[in-house]
């Protein structure tokens, strides 16, 4: 809650005003009934029509003021609430995008997204819908009680006698209904998950004749959800009629005591009548606050989860006094790097140095540390021991932005953002002109891919790049890297199936992209390995072999075995065929 208070900065005056408006609104509602009392006693029973007319006029004026105040309250609280929500959402997002990849690899994407959306929404619901109810009723309850006591303290005390059981009932309802609602949400979530999974995997469900099994699983979940819904409804069905009943009891008590006091002439009939209506204003907030209570609970739980992200310290950040990098010549030095994601190191003292403009290939089976090495070069992590240096600058001593601006990365299965193909290419250099984008596209052959799509380069890419093959996505990401004109390039070659024409395009694109830049390629194809000046064979977090292809093939080692599996399979088969 203290966190939320921060976003009130600069709006404290509005917030204070809203408290006043809320108080005014409560006063208008209860004060109206005191005016009714006055009209009855001084006007009607005193046979004074003139007084009656005046009081009715005042009464209407008070109601109009209340109308106005409540409208202000709804608007004002929504404005404050949404200011808090947007501040919270932005801060959370800004903070998230600054966290290192380690955080994103440890948390499931779905979990993180839920914090940004449903959790912030839960806070938002309380602030924009719950708040007006909360503020007006929290004030209305004491105002109504006070008005009762002012009207006649004896009647006030009589009616207050019903308040403790009513409060106890409300507490019971809040507790039970909250627990029941939480369970209900879990059960409907299970039903939704079951349907979602079946629909997404329907081909498999049907192909494997799993319909009955799925139907049975679904029926059980659907029934559990129905039972829980029924239970929730039962709780509601008990609570509201009970409160209504307690209200009548209080009224009966007031009538009983009131009749005696009236007989003794110590109570006017107007006061007695007014007390009956004021009682309703005591019970109404109890019901409405019970509704808001559930929202408050969920928002509290959501805030706890949101805070867990906000408390996460960004791992990679500029050191005080970090210098911006000048334009690099491209000397890349990996010096005795040790790195662990958890306890066990995945890199055990890796060293190599790429001269400016050099092209090195990393080769090895997956899971042995190649991608980790690439991410250390991109400074998504800092090494636990040793250093990564560019042009003799330790990456930890330079401004991250100034380095990454000179770094290009092509991922194995590149993610495309929603927008057009052109906007995805421009992603690396937002101020690029249309001509530059077109030139980059033409240079790597993206224009040819785009030609088969409606709209060409302006073709709308669907979320994540669905509808394009992974080869085509990689081609677009090569154009993106080319447009950024980096000094150092990290490329993780696509392994997944690429049809031949696209593959040819990619190879040509690489010729263009690698020229004159320092590059590290995680290679999966022999044709790419051959492109490199030097090959580094990575096994179990160490470089076990290094050298040119010819030299490595002449050694009896890991590379020969790898090369054999890469190429040998074909050769033996063809040999057999020939």
């Amino acid at each position: 809650m203290r966190r939320l208070g921060r976003y009130l900065e600069g709006r404290k005056l509005t917030a204070a005003l809203m408290v006043l408006v809320g108080a005014g609104n409560a006063a208008a509602q209860t004060g109206g009934w005191l005016l009714v009392r006055n009209a009855i006693d001084k006007g009607i029973t005193a046979d004074n029509e003139h007084h009656l007319t005046i009081v009715v006029a005042i009464y209407l004026g008070v109601a109009a003021a209340g109308w106005f105040l409540q409208a202000m309250l709804i608007r004002g609280l929504a404005t404050i609430g949404q200011a808090i929500v947007i501040g919270l959402r932005r801060d959370l997002f800004d903070h998230l995008t600054g966290l290192s990849l380690r955080y994103f690899s440890q948390q499931k994407a779905g979990w993180i997204i839920a914090r940004l959306t449903s959790d912030v929404d839960a806070v938002s619901d309380v602030l924009s819908q719950g708040m007006p109810t909360l503020v007006s009723n929290v004030m209305l309850l004491p105002a109504a009680v006070t008005a009762l006591l002012i009207a006649d303290w004896r009647l006030g005390i009589v009616s207050l006698a019903v308040l403790p059981p009513a409060l106890a009932l409300s507490r019971w309802f809040q507790r039970v209904s909250h627990a029941a609602n939480v369970e209900q949400r879990n059960r409907i979530a299970a039903v939704t998950a079951q349907i979602a999974e079946s629909v997404a995997g329907m081909a498999v469900v049907q192909a494997f004749n799993r319909e009955r099994r799925f139907q049975a699983e679904f029926d059980a979940l659907n029934e559990a959800n129905r039972a829980q819904s029924t239970y929730v409804q039962k709780i509601f069905s008990v609570f509201f009629p009970s409160i209504e009943f307690l209200g009548v009891l209080a009224m009966v008590a007031v009538l009983y005591v009131g009749s005696h006091l009236y007989a003794q002439d110590t109570l006017t009939i107007g006061t007695l009548i007014t007390a009956i209506y004021l009682l309703q204003l005591v019970f109404q907030p109890l019901q409405e606050l019970s509704d808001v209570y559930g929202q408050l609970q969920s928002a509290g739980a959501a805030m706890v989860k949101i805070a867990s992200i906000l408390d996460e310290e960004p791992e990679i950040r500029d050191r005080p006094g970090a210098k911006p990098l000048p334009r690099l010549s491209g000397d890349l030095d990996i010096d005795s790097v040790v790195f662990a994601y958890g306890k066990d190191p995945v890199l055990h003292g890796v060293s190599f140095r790429v001269p400016p403009g050099g092209c090195f290939a990393l080769v090895g089976e997956s899971g042995h540390g190649k991608s980790t090495l690439a991410r250390l070069i991109g400074r998504h992590y800092d090494p636990d021991e040793g250093a990564v240096r560019v042009d003799h600058h330790d990456l930890r001593d330079v401004q991250l932005r100034s380095y990454r601006r000179q770094l290009g990365v092509v991922l194995q299965d590149p993610f495309l953002f929603s927008g057009t193909i052109a906007s995805n290419i421009r992603f690396a250099k937002p101020d690029a002109t249309d001509e530059e984008v077109q030139a980059a596209a033409a240079a790597v052959g993206v224009d040819r891919v785009a030609a088969r799509l409606s709209g060409g380069l302006e073709h709308e890419v669907r979320e994540g790049g669905a509808g394009l093959s992974s080869g085509e996505r990689q081609l677009i990401s090569i154009a993106r890297a080319l447009l950024a004109d980096p000094r150092i390039l990290v490329l993780d070659e696509a392994t997944s199936n690429i049809d031949r024409p696209t593959e040819v395009l990619i190879e040509r694109a690489l010729d263009r992209l690698l020229a004159g830049r320092t590059s590290i390629i995680i290679a999966h194809r022999l044709s790419t390995v051959r492109r490199a000046e030097k090959i580094l064979v990575v096994e179990h977090g160490r470089i076990v072999q290094r050298g040119a292809e010819r030299d490595l093939l002449s050694e009896d080692g890991v590379f020969r075995r790898l090369a054999h599996t890469l190429e040998g399979g074909d050769e033996t088969e063809f040999a057999a065929a020939g």
Binding site: A39, I40, Y59, T97, I195, A203, T230, S259, S469
Partner: protein, 584 residues
């Protein structure tokens, strides 16, 4: 493709169908309505009794007070019981009908043909069985009976007030029409805005999703500010819509709250004068105020209910259209069994098109001998997947036929056909259950040794045992996320475990890294021995698994032969694999 996308049902037919569902619950429904009537009568009786108590006992001492109070308390207790029963009974109808509709929809989903899922995005199919059902539930479980009760309350109050003083009743009802109008208008205006709020929230989710999934790209290119800006815009979109909603609320809700004051003022002004003139007792004055205040909620409820009814009928209309308008894949009229032993597969003059579009397969003939492995090669979009999908009858050919062991696939009971054809799709789907259950999904009674053998052949053994809980590890969003290559291998093992006589593999190793692929190709061949296999692929390395390869171009088979021969022939096959072949 109208048969997978029927138009929504109109209001009347929808209403008739809802009524039919409601009739199944008629006892609860009638009980609920009876409770409503009782509630109305008691709620009208209590103010009348208060009036009598004030006039006869408090003001005039003509009768003792306590009998009135005792009856009022007793009636209030009775009303609480009646009210509980009304709420609970009607809510149960709503909950039951919701569950029933969902069950019907899910049952239908399991039977719908592939064409349906090509046509409707997952989100739409999902929400029709979840969110779209809520208006139906609230309307049936609350709105309908509440609406009837509102009408009863209004009638009862009108009768009582008219009997007491008809002219005063007319004057003091002044606030009731504007309350009704305001409530109707509010319901009509706020509904579209709250839908917009939901849409804006969806935009935020999309922006968050994109940034989180693409975070590596974002950070690498230093585009954090860019995505923050984009996200900020979406968040701003939510804010402005929520504020617009608050605007609508602030124009209507206070009115609903304070308009009754008009009636109270009218009772004070006109009623007060009547009392002064001696034409109205003070108790009757109270009766007017009480009954009028009691009418406020029923009138407001009418506004909500008309709106709810529209939404409920609209979404029920969509659901019924799906339930009745979409045909499941037809079972054969005269089913035939598949012969025992190995099966051959024949595509005979097969043409195929996706609903009304151009042909994907043209007049295609292809025979796969029993126990033969045939690779289908061809560029993206050549029709490979379409061809494969005909075997488990995900689609039926538009012309020609597919025969297994001499029997037309359409004459075999669907369950038997699918039990005999194991399929590995291009993007394999695993379920959120332990790995072991995923492996045995096609044959639950499979011997564990057989499963392990399949895992060895498909390369699951290289990662399965090292998962946190080995083969018992939960897979999926709530458990461990496997990589694309690992998922493909599990799907492959799952297909092997079924022991199906025909195996259909759609680029089964596309996401597996090159080294592993070579190993798997060598291990899979013996594991597939004796089965009739059709495998589509874009990788030469996978073609080597096959006895024979065919090249599919534009829906026709243009070349066929042993892979090695095709390489030497220098025809379409050699062109397709280009340098890979030349390198050899």
């Amino acid at each position: 493709m109208s048969f997978v996308d029927p138009s929504d049902l109109g209001l009347l037919p929808t209403f008739r169908r809802l009524l039919r569902l409601w009739r199944d619950q008629w006892r609860l429904g009638v009980f609920g309505l009876a409770c409503s009537l009782a509630y109305t009568l008691i709620s009208t009786a209590i103010p009348v009794l208060i009036q009598q108590a004030i006039d006869r006992s408090i003001v005039h001492h003509a009768q003792p007070l306590w009998p009135y109070l005792a009856i009022i308390a007793g009636l209030a207790a009775l009303r609480a019981v009646v009210n509980f029963n009304r709420r609970y009974a009607t809510a149960r109808i709503g909950v039951r009908i919701e569950a029933r509709m969902r069950e019907l929809l899910y049952q239908a989903y399991l039977r719908y043909p592939r064409g349906f899922y090509d046509r409707h995005p997952t989100g739409q199919v999902l929400s029709r069985a979840t969110n779209d059902l809520y208006p139906i539930r609230y309307f049936i479980g609350w709105g309908f009976v509440q609406g009837m009760q509102s009408l009863m309350m209004i009638t009862a109050a009108a009768v009582v007030l008219t009997v007491v003083d008809a002219r005063l009743a007319l004057y003091t009802a002044v606030a009731m029409p504007p309350i009704t109008v305001l409530a109707l208008r509010f319901a009509r205006r706020v509904a579209p805005i709250s839908r917009q709020v939901q849409e804006r929230k969806g935009d935020v989710t999309e922006a968050a999703d994109e940034a989180v999934v693409g975070i590596e790209m974002v950070q690498t290119f230093g585009r954090e500010d860019d995505v923050r800006g984009r996200f900020g815009e979406k968040a701003e979109g939510v804010r402005s819509t929520v504020l617009r909603q608050a605007g609508v609320e602030s124009r209507h809700l206070p009115g609903l709250y304070y308009l009754p004051a008009l009636s109270i003022a009218a009772v004070l002004f006109f009623g007060g004068r009547q009392v002064i003139g001696g034409h109205l007792s003070i108790g009757q004055f109270v009766l007017f105020e009480t009954l009028l205040l009691q009418l406020v909620w029923p009138l407001e409820a009418l506004g909500w209910i008309t709106n709810l009814a529209q939404r409920a009928l609209a979404s029920a209309g969509r659901s019924f259209a799906w339930l009745e308008g979409i045909e499941a894949l037809p079972e054969p009229a005269r089913p035939r069994r598949l012969p025992a032993g190995r099966l051959d597969v024949r595509f005979e003059r097969v043409s195929f098109a996706y609903g009304g579009e151009a042909d994907v397969l043209h007049d295609l003939d292809l025979t796969i001998e029993p126990g033969e492995i045939v690779a289908v090669c061809g560029p993206t979009g050549a029709g490979k997947t379409s061809l494969l999908n005909l075997l488990p009858r995900f689609y039926d050919p538009t012309a020609g036929r597919v025969r297994l062991g001499g029997v037309d696939a359409r004459d075999v009971p669907i369950a038997e056909l699918r039990a005999s054809v194991a399929l590995v799709t291009q993007r394999p789907v695993l379920f959120s259950v332990p790995l072991r259950e995923n492996l045995t999904a096609g044959r639950e009674e499979a011997d564990w040794d057989e499963v392990l053998a399949a895992c060895r052949a498909a390369g699951v053994d290289s990662f399965g045992p090292s998962l946190p809980e080995g083969y018992e590890t939960l897979i999926g969003e709530r458990g461990v996320n496997l990589s694309g290559g690992q998922r493909q291998r599990v799907a492959l093992a799952r297909a092997l475990v079924t022991g199906a006589r025909v195996v259909v593999l759609d680029d089964p190793l596309s996401a597996v890294d090159t080294f592993t692929e070579r190993q798997l190709v060598a291990r899979l061949r013996p594991a597939l021995a004796g089965r009739t296999v059709l495998v589509a692929t874009q990788r030469l390395s996978t073609v080597w698994i096959a006895d024979r390869a065919v090249v599919l171009l534009d829906g026709r088979i243009v070349e066929s032969g042993r892979p090695a021969e095709l390489v030497r022939a220098g025809g379409p096959f050699a062109t397709l694999f280009g340098d890979e072949v030349v390198a050899a």
